[in-house]
Amino acid sequence: MRLPTWEDLESVDEQLDVLEWPLDEALFVAGPPGSGKTVLAVRRAQMVAESEPDAVMLTYNRMLRRLMKLLSEQSRMAQADETPAFPGSIATVQSYVWRDYLERTRSKPPTSPDDPFAYIWSEMLHILEQGENAPNRSHLIVDEGQDLAEGFFEYASHYISETMSVFADDDQALANQRTTLEQIKRAANLPDPIILTQNHRNTPQIASLAEHFHAGRLPAAAVRRSFSGEVPRLVEHASLDTIAHRVSNSMQTQGGSIGVVVDQNETGKLLLHPLREQLPQHRVEFYTNSLRNEDQINVLEDGVTVLNKESVKGQEFDTVFILELHRFLPCTTDSEKRGMYMMCSRARDNLWLIAGPNGRLTKGASDALPGPKILEPVRW
């Protein structure tokens, strides 16, 4: 993920509005995937933390935390070694609140009996109200706010920081726990959101395919200018070997970061060996939530990252290969459509949809796909 040029930014007024927001004021930003929220959140955090080093940035999951850290390391300020990569601190909400609550109350946060990760916010807020507790950070920056509980925002505005910058999406939530913009605004005491409507990530060619799967609010036409905007391509059938060979060719020619999305982790594991063999010079890695290996994976470094549908959320790659299309299609529910939309919109420049290995598209699934101007069929 490279820094934008001024021209890239200038073409998207709403992004500028966010970037230009005074550093000492609360900010609320909402937008669909691809509108550039995550990058804006990191930039915001960097700029705020440069003037207020006790600022803290909290994120929803661990892979994201890694992404944020990497992004912040790219900043020019961190070029000279021995200066902090990010002057504030970055943590997941889960771990930050755990420590904060423990420090304040000398006891662990209460969790739901069914889910040890689900804090019981009402109880925590009630207990903290009893003592003398006050916010202790000058600024809190939160990304993926829609995935966080309403109770967290109350906790944050009362006990973390009175000044918050929250970036949220109300369209992409994969988790059941889903908080609306109105709830966030009220709980965190924020101004009206700046609503991002433009697609900043994908080329127009990729955006039009993603829109095909969309069920809900849409970002407007893509605004990204790129010399690499190709029409996404559809491969109706391919073997594992062919897929490995083509992915490796793509790595060797276009280079950049490549995401290979699988439905079955088993398929990902099978791909890993031939890919590593064919790309001895490049980074080839497999990420799953259960491996918990995100700290070892540098998704921004050029190379191939194999991951599943759940892990790809919030990521961005120059080129994306979505494998096992036959398992994702046809989409029968809105949630399945959202999933396809989310996966397609991970790609910046190049997108390949591939049925296989070990499967073909059904006639119904094939018929429901858009025509060759939007999705160009090719044979491998």
Binding site: R2, T5, W6, L16, M47, E73, A80, D81, T83, R225
Partner: protein, 728 residues
């Protein structure tokens, strides 16, 4: 400074030369930050209206006429150095009236001037904003942009920035000089050409000749490197020469890429079709098939059916260069070719980089590519002059670019008159040109390289004589050489001689990973392996110690404030301020570390018991740049290495006290060892761990490399009581 006595130009023709004033009044103009960023991105602050000029303050404070006051715009006052501008006709506001004068005749008593053109950003010498928050925000925003760098412009805070003079009369004058659209493309090509020029003597000649308008010297230089297409550099377009496949593709790519940066970008497959069509239209019938083949092969690359092939690169070097650009068109990505294909023939790499600059234009190049201030200034004027005959006649204070190259100890220096504009480290290939082939070891190494790469560098001179040949193959004379088909044995009478010129030529041209020549021996004769003040003890810990320590460390919380993970004990260390103060005391060292600190002291390795410890975790490809530890720590710094053996380089203090470092001395810090720095090694020497993926080691007399994984280092130091606080 260059003498300013040449003829200068104005609308009416040439005037008599006259000396420039010694000092110029400073000019000011307040714009909003968006205008500043746009200008820094492209090199020019363009007038708000096409064809207009702009009013700039001299004695009075002037704000741009359409200055927005709403939203969160930041008012930025630019201070301009008029001595960097050409001496154009301007209008000056004197006593409430506009009068025509030359820029050099403007005096500090004047209110304002009307500058009839865009303002080059190299004239901006400082900026001011109204508040600290706005300064932080301005710098923060610039850090988020790839093509804007504020680091060499001073940003100050002044609450007068929002003031401006409203009594300056309107000026309706037209602009004199427009910046042509093509300028950005050409500026981009020039910038990338300088960035990527192969650091090898004959290519430096091509660069130098391509910048000067001397066709015969350029032809000579390009012939020397077999790159005839460079006779038409992108910034010196000429009547079409389409004698060869290379020429027709080169010109077609230039036509297609130039000015593209202002249009809606077209996808690579679209550009491919346009280049091939243009080349087919222009090119001679004899290479129509070759162009079509190239087009189809490139299309297969886009379909991921094939990759860029270098095997037969010499058949179509320009075609390969275009493939490199089309597959990675964005400059940041393009750059990765150099890492992915270190064996790229220099001519292809350079041609492709230059085309990449032409395609993207200067505006889309990140600041990494742009070079220093002088280079930016001269190339910007050069690009403008190439595109605009009017600008070409203008008198710029530094003159037009007059590029020369020279060799210094380890670098190539590019200069303009007496000023250096870029320094480029010589790499392996370039070092062969300075190497002394009179030395046996250099010749031996060269022969070794030639043999390994299968280069024909041995010359056998034969006169008037029949040469016996046997075998089943055939010999054919082709242009430039004898072609052997199949297997043939040739019996020559004399021993051949190693032809250095041929070897050097191949060094400059061929596709290969070329190793550097052996360095002069003189250095090795110095006793350079002594690091005064370094004590080293292998196996300071035993395996059980190590395992227990690592387990303990992994249970503690890591700080991710740096690129690598760290833990601080005893005292927190502020990396930014490079020090500690009394507020940073964290408490006693935890037991496992306190025990080690005591052991270091007991064994006489350190003069005092350390009270601060930092745990550093290095993952493969992480390192630490050369540094000496901060003075807030006392003498005697101990580093214990865990899990892996990595190499640390020690840099001796420079002789003249300048910034350059002397010859480094590498030392392997073995797993479980301790290294202690005292005296000179602690205060005067610098140490570093190079960021790389593997480290050398010796196994049964053989040099090998071992991949890095994870190393943990424990650094023990004693904090010196901060001055003035000890007495409190």
């Amino acid at each position: 400074m260059v003498e300013q006595t040449e003829l200068s130009y104005d609308e009416g023709g040439f005037q008599q030369p006259r000396p420039m004033e010694a000092a110029f009044p400073q000019l000011n103009l307040t714009v909003d930050h968006r205008r500043l960023f746009r200008a820094l991105g492209d090199g020019w602050l363009r007038p708000l209206e096409v064809g207009a000029g702009q009013v700039v303050g001299v004695r009075r404070l002037v704000r741009e006429s359409k200055h927005p006051t709403s939203g969160h715009r930041i008012a930025v006052r630019l201070f301009l150095d008029a001595s960097k501008l050409p001496d154009l006709d301007t209008l000056v506001s004197r006593n409430g009236q506009w009068k025509p004068v030359r820029l050099r005749d403007v005096c500090s008593e004047d209110d304002a001037i009307h500058w009839s053109s865009a303002i080059p950003t190299f004239a901006i010498c400082a900026v001011a904003v109204p508040s600290i928050e706005e300064r932080d925000r301005l710098i923060g925003m610039s850090n988020a942009l790839s093509n804007v760098d504020l680091s060499d412009i001073q940003v100050t805070v002044a609450d007068t920035v929002n003031e401006y003079e409203s009594t300056i009369p309107l000026c309706e004058a037209k602009g004199q000089l427009m910046i042509p659209v093509r300028q950005d493309s050409i500026y981009g090509a020039l910038t990338m050409a300088l960035w990527a020029v192969p650091r090898i003597d004959p290519w430096m000649d091509v660069l130098q000749a391509s910048m000067a308008a001397e066709p015969s010297r350029l032809a000579e230089a390009t012939d020397a490197v077999d790159a005839p297409w460079w006779r038409v550099p992108p910034w010196r377009p000429q009547a079409d020469r389409q004698d060869t496949l290379a020429d027709s593709l080169w010109l077609a790519a230039m036509d297609t890429f130039q000015g593209n940066c202002d249009e809606e970008p077209s996808p690579p497959r679209g550009m491919l079709v346009r280049i091939a069509d243009r080349a087919l239209q222009n090119g001679g019938a004899e290479f129509k098939d070759a162009i079509a083949d190239w087009r189809d092969a490139t299309a297969r690359i886009f379909a991921t059916e094939a990759t860029v092939k270098l095997q037969d690169w010499w058949k179509n070097p320009v075609g390969v260069a275009i493939q490199l650009v089309l597959t990675r068109p964005e400059p940041g990505r393009f750059k990765t070719w150099f890492k992915d294909m270190p064996s790229l023939p220099p001519g292809i790499a350079w041609s492709a980089a230059t085309l990449c600059g032409l395609l993207n234009g200067y505006r889309r190049l990140s600041t990494d590519f742009r070079g220093g201030a002088l280079q930016r200034e001269l190339l910007s004027i050069e690009a403008l002059s190439v595109c605009s005959p009017q600008a070409a006649k203008m008198h710029w204070p530094k003159g037009r670019l007059n590029l020369r190259w020279r060799r210094e100890a380890a670098v190539f220096v590019l200069s303009h008159g007496a000023q250096d504009l870029a320094r480029k480290t010589r790499q392996a290939r370039g070092k062969w040109y300075g190497a002394d082939f009179g030395k046996a070891e250099v010749c031996r190494a060269a022969r070794g390289v030639a043999e390994k790469l299968n280069w024909s560098c041995v010359k056998v001179s034969i006169e008037d004589r029949k040469i016996p040949v046997s075998g089943t193959g055939k010999l054919e004379m082709r242009s430039g050489g004898l072609e052997v088909l199949g297997k043939v044995d040739i019996f020559v009478p004399e021993r051949g001689t190693f032809d250095v010129e041929t070897f050097r030529r191949l060094i400059a041209l061929e596709r290969a990973n070329v190793p550097a020549p052996p360095e002069a021996k003189a250095l090795a004769e110095l006793p350079n392996d002594v690091i005064p003040g370094l004590t080293y003890e292998p196996d300071f810990l035993d395996e059980e110690d190590e395992q227990r320590l690592v387990e303990w460390i992994d249970k503690q919380a890591w700080s991710s404030a740096l690129r690598r993970r760290v833990q601080h004990y005893g005292w927190r260390y502020d990396y930014k301020a490079r020090g500690v103060d009394s507020s940073m005391r964290l408490g006693e060292l935890p037991a496992p570390l306190a025990e080690l600190a005591q052991r270091l002291y007991d064994r006489g390795l350190v003069p005092q018991v350390p009270d601060q410890a930092i745990v550093n975790e290095y993952e493969a490809n992480q390192g630490i740049t050369p540094h000496a530890d901060a003075p807030s720590f006392a003498d005697g710094i101990a580093t214990i290495s865990l899990l892996e053996s990595w190499e640390m380089n020690f840099h001796p203090p420079s002789k003249g006290g300048g910034g350059r470092m002397g010859n480094k001395v590498p030392r392997l810090l073995e797993r479980r060892s301790v290294a202690v720095l005292q005296g000179e090694a602690r205060w005067k020497w610098k140490h570093e761990i190079v960021k790389r993926k593997s480290d050398p080691y010796v196994d049964r007399g053989k040099r090998r490399r071992r991949d890095r994984n994870r190393r943990i280092s424990l650094t023990f130091r004693k904090v010196r009581p901060p001055a003035g606080q000890a007495s409190r």
